[in-house]
C-alpha cells in the first residue's frame, strides 16, 4: 500500500497537494467565523450533484418544461426531495453569501493584497444571483414566467444595447422555446462553468495570501486540519439540516400552474431574496425624483452604483475612514434590503386582493395535479391544454369576465372578488338545484338581490305569482309544492342530484302533473311538450346543460325570454363566446366538473 501511494505521489505530487490543503496555517486557531466560505463551497457541490440529476429528467421547451418538472415533483421516486434540496440550497447560498461578505468586510479581508481575491468573491456573488434568476424560469410555471418577464423587461431599459440584449437573452422577440433553451444553457452550463473557475481562483488566491486572522488571537496557531475542518463540517451539516427541514416541510419546491401568458397572474412576486429589489421599484421617490426615468434609475443605475461601490471597497478601504465607510455602507444596504423585504411581505399580507390571488394560484396548481392524475398523465398538447378544457378552472374565469358584471356566483364574481355594486341579475350559484328553486319560489326572496332584484322581472308576472298566488297554493298542499319542485329540479339533472333518483321517481311523476294543474306553471311556461303560446322560458329541461347552453347562446329565442329579454346578451349569436366556452361555464355552474367524467375517452372502460 505504501509502495502504491509512493508510486502515485512521485508521479503526481498528490501528497504535497493534500498536505497543502489540510495543513493550511491558521494563526489564532480554528474559529467559527471562518466557516462561511466552506459552507458556500459545500452548497455549490450540492447544487452540482442535485442539478445534474435534475438535468437528467428536465426537458427545456415551452411545451415540455413544466411537464418534465411536474414529473420530477410528483412521479419520480424521491424527485420532490431532490428538487426541494436544489431549491432551498439555492436560497441558503444567498443567505450564506451575505454572511460571508459581512465577515470579509468586517475582518478587513478585502484589503491589500487580497483585492483580486475579493473581486472574485464579488463575481461569485453575481454568478449566484444569475443562477437564481435563470433557475427560477426553468419550471415554466406562472410564477417563474411572470418573474422572468419582469427581469427581462428590465434588461430592455438599459440604454442603447438594452433591446438587443433583451432579444438575445429571451432568444427572440417573444418568450418561447428558445427562452428556455438559453436560460437552461446559462443555468446548467455557462454560469456553473464560470463559477467553478472563479471558485478555483478564489480558493487559490485565498491559499496564496493565507487567512485573514481575526485579532486578537485566542489560541496558538493551528492547522486547518482537524479543528477548522470539523467546524466547517458542522456548519455544513447545519446548513444541510435546515435545508432538509424546509424541503420536507414544503414537500419540495412549489410548482405553480403552467405558464399561460393569456391568464393574469396576480400573485406574481419574485423569489424572496429579490423581494427587496421588487419593493424598491415601488418606492414613490423614483417617480417623484426621476419621473419617467424612475425605472431605469431604480432597476439599473442604483443597483449598478451599489455593485460598483461594493467592487471598489478595496480602494475605499485604503482611505482614511474608508473601512468605516465600507462597514457603514454595507450595513445601510443590508438593513435597507431587510426593511424593504419586510415592507413587501407586510403590504402583501394586508392586501386581500393579493391573498385571494395566492389562494387562486394554489387552487390552479392543485387542480392541475388532479386533472393530470385523473387523465393518467399529460396529453402531448401539454398541461395548459388540459387545464383549458377544465370547467372548474375555465368556468369561473369566463364567468368573471363575461357574466359577473350583472350576475354573481355565491355573492362574488366566480373568482372570489366581491363587487361593491349591487348585482343586476340573479346569483347563479346552485342554479338548477332544489335550494335555488325554493328560494325563487319564496315570496320574500324572489325580489331580493339574489334573484330578480336587479331585473325588470322584479315587478313581472312571475314575481307577482310567487307573492300573490303561490303562498295560498303552498299552504293548501305542501306535499304538492314539494313534488312540483322535485319535478322541475329533475329537469336540470344536476350531477349532485342524481343519487337516489329512482327512489324519488314516483314523487317526480306526481310533481310533473302538479306543474300543469295545481300550480298552473304551464299558463306561461312550456313543460315537457311544445307550447306555442308560452310567454316565459321553457321548463322542459330547465337547468340542464343543453337548456343553459341554449339560453346563454341566445336568450332572445322564443323558448326563453323572446322579446321580453332584459339586457342579457346573446353570447353565441353575438360572437362573444364559443359554444365550447359556454359549455365550460355551464358545467362549472352545474358543478359537473369531476375530471373522470370528461377526461376519459368515450368507450374506454377502466
Amino acid at each position: 500500500m505504501k509502495k502504491l501511494i509512493d508510486w502515485i505521489d512521485q508521479r503526481t505530487g498528490m501528497q504535497g497537494l493534500l498536505h497543502e490543503v489540510l495543513f493550511e496555517r491558521i494563526p489564532g486557531g480554528a474559529r467559527w467565523r471562518y466557516v462561511w466560505g466552506s459552507t458556500l463551497s459545500f452548497c455549490f457541490l450540492v447544487q452540482i450533484l442535485t442539478g445534474v440529476v435534475l438535468w437528467m429528467a428536465y426537458s427545456p421547451s415551452a411545451n415540455s418544461a413544466w411537464e418534465s418538472v411536474y414529473y420530477i415533483q410528483h412521479e419520480m421516486t424521491g424527485g420532490w426531495f431532490l428538487r426541494g434540496l436544489h431549491h432551498f440550497v439555492a436560497q441558503a447560498m444567498h443567505v450564506l453569501l451575505v454572511l460571508h461578505l459581512l465577515q470579509v468586510i468586517i475582518d478587513g479581508a478585502y484589503k491589500a493584497p487580497r483585492e483580486v481575491n475579493y473581486w472574485f468573491g464579488v463575481v461569485l456573488l453575481m454568478l449566484t444571483l444569475g443562477l437564481g434568476l435563470t433557475g427560477y424560469l426553468l419550471p415554466w410555471d406562472q410564477k417563474g414566467f411572470g418573474a422572468t418577464k419582469v427581469a427581462t423587461s428590465l434588461i430592455g431599459i438599459v440604454p442603447l444595447v438594452g433591446p438587443s440584449l433583451q432579444k438575445l437573452v429571451v432568444g427572440g422577440s417573444d418568450y418561447g422555446h428558445h427562452t428556455l433553451t438559453r436560460f437552461f444553457a446559462l443555468h446548467a452550463g455557462v454560469l456553473p462553468g464560470l463559477m467553478i473557475a472563479a471558485i478555483a481562483a478564489h480558493v487559490a488566491l485565498f491559499r496564496k495570501h493565507g487567512i485573514t486572522a481575526k485579532q486578537p488571537y485566542r489560541k496558538p496557531e493551528a492547522n486547518f486540519w482537524p479543528d477548522q475542518v470539523l467546524m466547517d463540517g458542522v456548519a455544513c451539516l447545519a446548513v444541510l439540516a435546515s435545508v432538509v427541514y424546509l424541503t420536507v416541510r414544503h414537500h419540495g419546491a412549489e410548482l405553480h400552474a403552467p405558464a399561460d401568458p393569456t391568464q393574469p397572474f396576480n400573485a406574481a412576486r419574485p423569489e424572496w431574496y429579490f423581494l427587496f429589489l421588487f419593493e424598491f421599484l415601488k418606492l414613490d421617490f423614483l417617480t417623484q425624483w426621476f419621473g419617467h426615468q424612475g425605472e431605469l434609475v431604480g432597476a439599473i443605475v442604483i443597483p449598478g452604483v451599489v455593485m460598483g461601490i461594493l467592487a471598489g471597497m478595496p480602494f475605499i478601504g485604503g482611505w482614511r475612514l474608508g473601512h468605516r465607510f465600507n462597514l457603514g455602507f454595507l450595513g445601510v444596504v443590508l438593513v435597507g434590503a431587510v426593511l424593504l423585504t419586510v415592507k413587501s411581505l407586510r403590504s402583501d399580507a394586508a392586501n386581500p386582493g393579493f391573498q385571494a390571488a395566492v389562494i387562486q394560484a394554489q387552487t390552479d396548481a392543485d387542480r392541475m395535479v388532479t386533472l393530470i392524475q385523473a387523465n393518467g398523465g399529460i396529453p402531448r398538447d401539454g398541461a395548459v391544454a388540459l387545464l383549458n378544457q377544465d370547467p372548474a378552472t375555465v368556468g369561473p374565469r369566463l364567468f368573471a369576465q363575461h357574466c359577473a358584471s350583472c350576475h354573481r356566483y355565491g355573492g362574488h364574481d366566480g373568482l372570489g372578488v366581491v363587487s361593491a355594486e349591487a348585482p343586476s341579475a340573479p346569483d347563479l350559484r346552485g342554479f338548477g338545484s332544489a335550494v335555488w328553486l325554493r328560494g325563487l319560489l319564496n315570496p320574500e326572496q324572489i325580489t331580493n338581490g339574489f334573484y330578480y332584484g336587479g331585473t325588470k322581472f322584479r315587478t313581472g308576472k312571475m314575481a307577482r305569482y310567487v307573492q300573490e298566488k303561490l303562498p295560498a297554493l303552498k299552504a293548501k298542499d305542501p306535499a304538492a309544492m314539494a313534488s312540483m319542485i322535485e319535478a322541475v329540479v329533475a329537469e336540470a339533472d344536476l350531477p349532485a342530484n342524481r343519487a337516489g333518483l329512482a327512489a324519488r321517481t314516483p314523487q317526480i311523476e306526481a310533481g310533473r302533473v302538479h306543474v300543469s294543474t295545481t300550480f298552473g306553471c304551464t299558463d306561461c311556461h312550456a313543460f315537457r311538450k311544445a307550447d306555442e303560446d308560452a310567454t316565459a322560458p321553457t321548463l322542459t329541461g330547465w337547468g340542464s346543460r343543453a337548456w343553459m347552453v341554449r339560453l346563454i347562446s341566445d336568450p332572445t329565442h322564443a323558448d326563453f325570454y323572446g322579446k321580453r329579454n332584459d339586457r342579457m346578451p346573446s353570447y353565441l349569436k353575438d360572437g362573444r363566446l364559443s359554444e365550447r366556452e359556454i359549455g365550460l361555464i355551464v358545467d362549472w355552474i352545474r358543478e359537473d366538473t369531476a375530471p373522470g367524467a370528461w377526461l376519459k375517452p368515450v368507450g374506454v372502460s377502466k
Binding site: 415551452a62 411545451n63 411572470g146 418577464k149 419582469v150 427581462t152 423587461s153 428590465l154 430592455g156 431599459i157 433591446p163 438587443s164 432579444k167 438575445l168 429571451v170 432568444g171 427572440g172 422577440s173 417573444d174 418561447g176 422555446h177 428558445h178 401568458p261 393569456t262 391568464q263 393574469p264 397572474f265 396576480n266 400573485a267 406574481a268 421588487f278 421599484l281 415601488k282 414613490d284 423614483l286 417617480t287 419621473g291 419617467h292 426615468q293 424612475g294 425605472e295 431605469l296 432597476a299 386582493g353 393579493f354 390571488a357 369576465q401 363575461h402 359577473a404 358584471s405 364574481d413 372578488v417 366581491v418 363587487s419 361593491a420 355594486e421 346578451p569 353575438d574 360572437g575 362573444r576
Partner: protein, 181 residues
C-alpha cells in the same frame, strides 16, 4: 560561427515565429468562437413578424357603455421549431368609445411587463406587480403610479361587425412607446 549567425537572424525569426503562433492560435480559437457567436446572435436577425391585421372580436361583444372587455388575440405563430395555425399571442382590452369605434389597450404593463388586470369594482386598470394604476381609458390616473407611460394602444379597425387590430408588443420601462421588433 553558428552563434554569430543566430544572433543576426534571431530577432526576425523570433518575430515571425511569434506572429505565426499568434495567427495559428487566433485561428484555432477564433473560428469556433465566431461560429458560436454568429449562431448565438441569431435572434437579432429575426423579426417578430407581428403587426399583421387580426380579427379579434365582434363589435357586439364590446359593451356599448365603455366597459373594457378582455379579449385573447389568437393568430398563427412560430416559436422556434413550432408552428401553430392558431394560438393565443396576447391579450388586449377592447373598449367602445363611439357606436362604431373601438379602442384596444395592451394588457402588458408598460412599467415592467406584468399582466394588467381590469378591476370591475374600481372601474380602473391595476397592475398587481408594482401597483401601477390606469384609468378606464388607459391613462395614468395616479401620480404615484410607477408606470412611465399610459397603457399601450393598438391600431384598431372596425370592419362592419368585426373588430380587427394590428397586434404588437412594446418595450416596457421607457416613456416612449416603441414596438418590439
Amino acid at each position: 560561427m553558428d552563434a554569430t549567425q543566430d544572433s543576426g537572424a534571431q530577432p526576425r525569426r523570433r518575430f515571425l515565429a511569434e506572429a505565426a503562433a499568434g495567427a495559428v492560435g487566433a485561428c484555432c480559437v477564433g473560428v469556433p468562437l465566431a461560429s458560436g457567436l454568429v449562431a448565438w446572435l441569431d435572434p437579432l436577425s429575426k423579426a417578430s413578424g407581428s403587426g399583421d391585421w387580426i380579427q379579434v372580436a365582434s363589435l357586439s361583444s364590446v359593451p356599448t357603455d365603455g366597459t373594457p372587455v378582455r379579449v385573447t388575440v389568437v393568430t398563427g405563430k412560430s416559436d422556434a421549431w413550432t408552428r401553430d395555425a392558431a394560438v393565443p399571442v396576447g391579450v388586449v382590452y377592447l373598449r367602445r368609445t363611439a357606436p362604431a369605434q373601438v379602442v384596444a389597450l395592451h394588457s402588458v404593463c408598460p412599467h415592467a411587463g406584468c399582466f394588467v388586470d381590469y378591476q370591475t369594482d374600481r372601474r380602473a386598470f391595476f397592475c398587481p406587480c408594482h401597483d401601477s394604476t390606469f384609468a378606464v381609458d388607459g391613462s395614468i390616473n395616479d401620480p404615484r403610479s410607477p408606470s412611465p407611460r399610459p397603457m399601450d394602444t393598438l391600431t384598431v379597425e372596425v370592419r362592419g361587425e368585426a373588430v380587427w387590430l394590428r397586434f404588437q408588443n412594446f418595450r416596457s420601462g421607457i416613456p416612449a412607446k416603441v414596438a418590439l421588433t
